[in-house]
C-alpha cells in the first residue's frame, strides 16, 4: 500500500522578503506617478484645449492655453510650435514676430514644418535651414 501526504497549503499572506521589496518598489513608482499626475494632467488638458481652440478658430483661447503649457513646461517643443502657429497666423506683425521667435532653435519635423508653412508670412520663410535631426 502506498501513501501520499496531503499537500500542505502555504501560510496566508506570507510572502518572500524579495517579493515584499519588489511590491514596495512598484508601489513607490505608483506613488511617484500619482504625485506627478496632477500638474501633467493640467498641462495635458491645456494642450488639448489649445489645439481644439485653434481648430475652431479661437486664436485668443489657443494662445492663452499654449501660454499655460509653456509656463509649466518652458521647454515643451509642442507648446512652442503650437503657439508659433497661432501667432504667425495673426494679422499683427508684432504677434507674427513673437510667433517666429518661439521657433528659434527648434528642429522641426516635416509634418510640423508643413503646418508652419501654411501660416507663416513670406518674409520669414527664408529663415529656416535643413538640418539632420
Amino acid at each position: 500500500m502506498s501513501m501520499a501526504a496531503a499537500p500542505v497549503p502555504l501560510k496566508r499572506h506570507s510572502y518572500p522578503v524579495w517579493l515584499s521589496a519588489f511590491a514596495l518598489a512598484v508601489l513607490g513608482a505608483l506613488a511617484y506617478s500619482l504625485m506627478l499626475a496632477e500638474p501633467y494632467l493640467d498641462v495635458y488638458l491645456s494642450l488639448q484645449r489649445a489645439e481644439a481652440a485653434y481648430e475652431r478658430g479661437d486664436r485668443a483661447m489657443a494662445e492663452a492655453q499654449y501660454t499655460e503649457v509653456l509656463t509649466a513646461f518652458p521647454s515643451s517643443e509642442r507648446g512652442h510650435i503650437g503657439i508659433a502657429i497661432v501667432l504667425l497666423s495673426h494679422a499683427s506683425e508684432a504677434k507674427q514676430l513673437a510667433g517666429f521667435n518661439h521657433l528659434t532653435g527648434i528642429k522641426l519635423n516635416n509634418s510640423d514644418y508643413q503646418r508652419i508653412l501654411k501660416v507663416i508670412p513670406e518674409k520669414y520663410r527664408g529663415n529656416f535651414r535643413s538640418v539632420k535631426k
Binding site: P7, V8, P9, L10, R12, H13, Y15, P16, L19, F22, A23, V26, A29, L30, Y32, S33, L34, L36, A37, Y40, L41, V43, Y44, L45, L47, Q48, R49, A52, V69, F73, S75, S76, E77, R78, G79
Partner: protein, 178 residues
C-alpha cells in the same frame, strides 16, 4: 516583424510576470483559497504559476482569475500616464525615471491577460454555479477573447494591448475637451 524568444521577452518584462502571479496569490489569500505552490518568475517553461485548491464560490473564482487582469491593467495605465504626457509635450531632457516608469508600466500591462487555463476554470465555475445564464455567456465570450489574445501573442498582441491601454487615459481626457 521582430521575433524574440519567449525567455528574452520574459527577462525584459519580468515585473509584469511577478505582478501577475503575486496578484493571483494575493487574491487566493483574500478569498481564503489554499495555495500549495507558487512560482513568481522563471525564465524557462511557464514563466510563473500559482497552484491553488478548488473553490465553489464564483466570487473567489472571479477574484483569482480576473484580478490580475484588473491589477496589471490599472498599474499600466497609471504608471505610463506621466511619461506619455511628457513625450507628447516634447519636453527637452525628459528625466530618465520616465523611461523607467514607461518600461515598468508596459511590462506590467503586457502580462495583464489571464492564461487560457485561468479563464477556462472561471467559465467552468460559472457553469457549475449558475448553469446556462447570461453570466455564463459573458464568461464564455471572455474566454474566447482571452484564448484569441493569447494566440495573438506571436504578433505582439500583448505589447499592442499594453501600449493601447497606456493611451486610454489620454484619449479619455482628450475626449472631455471641446
Amino acid at each position: 516583424m521582430i521575433v524574440l524568444p519567449g525567455f528574452l521577452i520574459a527577462i525584459l518584462t519580468f515585473p509584469g510576470i511577478i505582478v501577475h502571479e503575486a496578484a493571483h496569490r494575493f487574491f487566493c489569500d483574500i478569498a481564503r483559497v489554499p495555495v500549495y505552490e507558487v512560482c513568481y518568475f522563471r525564465i524557462n517553461g511557464p514563466q510563473g504559476y500559482v497552484i491553488h485548491g478548488p473553490t465553489d464560490r464564483l466570487g473567489a473564482h472571479f477574484l483569482i482569475s480576473i484580478g490580475p487582469l484588473i491589477v496589471n491593467s490599472l498599474l499600466c495605465a497609471v504608471l505610463c500616464f506621466v511619461p506619455l504626457v511628457a513625450f507628447k509635450l516634447d519636453v527637452s531632457q525628459t528625466p530618465a525615471v520616465f523611461i523607467f516608469l514607461l518600461w515598468l508600466g508596459v511590462s506590467i500591462g503586457m502580462h495583464a491577460f489571464p492564461s487560457t487555463q485561468d479563464v477556462q476554470s472561471f467559465s467552468a465555475a460559472v457553469k457549475r454555479g449558475s448553469g446556462r445564464s447570461p453570466l455564463l455567456l459573458i464568461a464564455k465570450l471572455f474566454q474566447i477573447v482571452v484564448v484569441v489574445a493569447n494566440a495573438l501573442r506571436v504578433i505582439w498582441f500583448d505589447l499592442i494591448y499594453a501600449v493601447a491601454l497606456a493611451h486610454v487615459p489620454l484619449l479619455l481626457l482628450a475626449g472631455t475637451v471641446q
